[in-house]
Amino acid sequence: MGNWDWGVFLEDPGGRIPTYWQWLVQAWGWTLAVSLCALVVALVLGSVIGVIRTLPASPWLVRFGNAWVELFRNIPLLVQIFIWYHVVPKLFPVMAGLPPFVLVVFALGLFTSSRIAEQLRSGIQALPKGQRYAGMAMGFTTAQYYRYVILPMAYRIILPPLTSESMNIFKNSSVAFAVSIPEMIQFAMQAGEETSRVTEMYLAVTVLYVISAMVINRLMVWIEKRVRIPGFVVAGGTGGH
């Protein structure tokens, strides 16, 4: 420590990539790709599970949803990633050909889906019961009143926790280092070892994490502003009106 040597980023790691800074940018791309793909999986599955946990008169679907949430949130992410990477392809030969990237996206996506499902459930249950009854009274089917009455409000309520969840998914993608996904932590460890310039590598990666977190935060705040309905209070997440 003490003497900085930022020139190290211009050196050649001796592989396909010409310099360390280009390798870093590529690693950043991997981090973003894992996070964004996992976020899509998590949003889709989390929405489905969150909705079926609030369906009236379908106790088995509710139980399935509850079991899903308990399963994926009570096992550490690292263990889940190892299961997806090492165990799932062996148990289900169909999945043996899948690239590690896809397996990690599933691991991170399903892990996060349980948290989004929980937020959506509490968002839906925070709505006054009258909203649901109003939908029924209008002659809507269950699918219709969810689509046109409940979900548009519930999603607006849960936008703030969704913001922190998308920042979490970005931070959690770092756990993918354990199964050799070439994301930023993997880069920091490998490049640090190769160059013996560990502090510089760690600093660069840390700064990229902080910047990305801020960008995601701004982006979500922007979305929150875009979808806001005047007169409909969403801040605080305590329910509509």
Partner: protein, 221 residues
Amino acid sequence: MNLDLSFFNWQVVSSFLLKGFYFSVTLTVVATLGGIVFGTLLAMMRLSGKKWLDMPASIYVNGMRSIPLVMVILWFFLLVPNIIGRPIGPEYSAIITFVAFEAAYFSEIMRAGIQSIPRGQVFAGQAMGMTYGQSMKLVILPQAFRNMLPVLLTQTIILFQDTSLVYAIGAYDLFKGFDTAGKNYGRPEEAYLAAAVTYFVLCYSLSWLVKRLHKKIAIIR
């Protein structure tokens, strides 16, 4: 593929798993207690209304919360030996890291807890002639702790799960125990499944207990 769990006997448990389990629990307990103490101090700094106390605490908390835990673990493992001037094992490094990291998260919980106490309580303390320290210690913090107890315990369960991330620096925790046992017996798949089941049983029972406690506290009030 056939799963063969027969290699799991008492010998595997006692020679591979117990040591790791003991470390995971120690790490969780120390980080929770240390995190709550430092987290409460950070929360009080942020709510003090004095800029020179608020600003460093805010930077610390927001900084810690925008970096992945794995990165923080790596940083401390790199920096702590430089600061104290001698090499340090991954286990000790992990304990220092988790106390420092969790303090940021616990401080957010404690801040919400302190803010959940009506302002009138603070004024009541002042009217009784209490100093800032006295009203904090005797009036505000006991209520804040009780309001936030379920959240604090939930954070502790998350913390217990996060201890598995010390994998990054090779510390010997519960997961490492399963990992090592699986590799030694050539049965990594079974070991990872057993790890998942173990963590699930532990965390699910703990969160069930927290839920019950939550109900009990809710009734008292």
